[in-house]
């Protein structure tokens, strides 16, 4: 089987996003290459979720451009997948949820069964295969969302705080899955505000604060010697979102 050409690098060129007259993403430029696991770090409301949705093509920038190996967003979405902060499951069985994703992506039925069994086993969900997906616990839903994304074998996987409401064991389990997907050759772009998690997973860190990209630095350098004072304060835990603007 011929391997499809890579859609990477992802290039953001002076991306701006206004929502309701408010500038929520400010002049972000960056290049993301195929190999590293990129972690988008930043406090609540920094714009991490919006940045992911911009990259994934779910929202269009007000100004600037998002391109994948030179091509506009819409043309390459089929090579991407995203796991949302609160994944939505269809009102059908766990296995049928994965089958739905495969069908939408045009995978022939004949090869779906094996693919579904494989990802369910890898995410520890095999015994839930026929359970209603909406009945799963939060942690199990998160793993199903990962299984669904994994099944379609994307070149790029976006993850929005995939462990936000999980206990330590659940967090470990999800991190193992993410690492396995990354080892399989998928580019991972993930948000978190959990510093420990970022240390465990990141190859490079993109630090976002109030809609601005302050730095994009290899992980080791970021955690030992951040270049910007904002990142320094974030690492110390003394960076607070601007309360006055929220009120």
């Amino acid at each position: 089987m011929m391997k499809p050409p890579s859609i990477l690098p992802l290039r953001l060129d002076r991306v701006v996003l206004d929502i309701g007259g408010k500038r929520v993403i400010k002049d972000v430029s960056a290049t993301l290459t195929a190999a590293p696991c990129s972690i988008v770090l930043g406090p609540n409301g920094a714009g991490k979720t919006l940045l992911l949705k911009l990259c994934h093509g779910l929202i269009a920038p007000t100004a600037g451009s998002v391109t994948w190996a030179g091509a506009p967003c819409g043309n390459v979405q089929h090579a991407q997948a995203m796991v949302f902060q609160q994944p939505v499951m269809l009102r059908r069985s766990v296995a049928a949820n994965i089958a739905y994703a495969l069908t939408v992506r045009g995978r022939p039925r004949a090869e779906q069964r094996a693919r579904i069994d494989d990802v369910l086993a890898r995410t520890g969900l095999r015994r839930f295969a026929e359970s209603p997906a909406r009945r799963l616990s939060v942690g199990e839903k998160q793993r199903l969302a990962l299984a669904r994304a994994w099944a379609i074998e994307p070149q790029v996987l976006f993850l929005d705080e995939p462990t936000a409401s999980l206990d330590p064991a659940g967090t470990r389990q999800v991190e193992e899955i993410i690492l396995a997907i990354h080892r399989g050759g998928t580019k991972v772009i993930m948000t978190t505000h959990d510093l420990q998690q970022a240390r465990r997973l990141a190859d490079e860190v993109m630090f976002l604060h109030r809609g601005r990209l302050y730095e994009q630095t290899p992980a080791a350098a970021f955690f030992t010697a951040p270049r910007t004072p904002e990142a320094q304060r974030f690492l110390e835990g003394t960076l607070f979102p601007n309360i006055r603007r929220v009120v």
Partner: protein, 256 residues
């Protein structure tokens, strides 16, 4: 309570009904109603079957129109959409007799569709009931799908579903609510009397349905048939309500 037929005026009927009293009379009406039901009286069976045929056909057509129309209104943005939404709400609240009148005017000999010769046929009644039910189904579908879309939009678009695909998915996701809406529409249509009376004409063996027969037979004083049909109508409502609950319970068990 036999009715001597002929040219009784409404006034005389009313006087007769006012005079009708006593527990024994009521009891005998109940008895003969029960007899009609249990012996499967041919007139009664004919009327019940016609009612069900008319209403089921009307609701099916209304669903075939209302479901995709509602879904399109929920997912698409186009000029004039607000206007359609207002029109839909208006149609939903319209008194059935005015819908009947409207269909009557369309189908009457001098009306725009007069040449079809549909007035006083079951087809005319199906059209009237369809006009009553389709707006309900469309409006409820629109609301249901719009709420679901709010929740599912990012996920479905991320997975790569087209708008058409998303519409199909969301109709299936909303199946419990939508099924309830259709059953409610069935209830409304089968309980309605004004519109089908106007366009059907309540012709014996042709367009007589349960509600119109009850209205007529009661005014004629033939309580047995009226009561028999009334009991069946109540049973139909009961079945619809039980159906809704049973459906919800089953769906809930399956996590829908």
């Amino acid at each position: 309570m036999d009715n001597n037929g002929g040219e009784e005026t409404a006034h005389a009927c009313a006087a007769k009904r006012a005079g009708w009293s006593g527990v024994s009379d009521l009891w005998s009406a109940v008895e003969s109603a029960a007899l009609l039901i249990f012996t499967l009286d041919s007139d009664l069976v004919e009327i019940v079957l016609r009612s069900l045929r008319v209403t089921l056909t009307a609701v099916t057509i209304a669903a075939v129109i209302g479901l995709p129309f509602g879904a399109a209104l929920a997912l698409l943005r186009f000029p004039g959409r607000r206007l359609i939404l207002v029109a839909l709400d208006t149609l939903m609240g319209l008194p059935p007799v005015t819908v009947g009148l409207l269909v009557y005017l369309m189908l009457s000999r001098s009306g725009p569709l007069g040449t079809l010769g549909l007035l006083y046929t079951t087809t005319a009644m199906i059209i009237a009931q369809c006009l009553l039910v389709a707006p309900i189904i469309a409006a409820l579908t629109r609301q249901t799908i719009e709420d679901l879309w709010e929740e599912y939009r990012d996920e479905l678009r991320s997975l790569g579903a087209s708008t058409l695909g998303a519409a199909g998915t969301l109709l299936w996701e909303g199946r419990v609510t939508l099924m309830t809406a259709m059953l409610a529409g069935f209830g409304r249509a089968s309980a309605e009397v004004g519109a089908v009376m106007i366009v059907g004409g309540n012709i014996d063996h042709v367009t007589r349905v349960m509600t119109t027969t009850i209205a007529l037979e009661t005014s004629k004083g033939n309580l047995a048939l009226a009561l028999g049909l009334g009991i069946i109508l109540v049973c139909v409502s009961l079945l619809v309500a039980a159906g809704i609950h049973g459906f919800k319970a089953t769906a809930h068990r399956w996590g829908a």
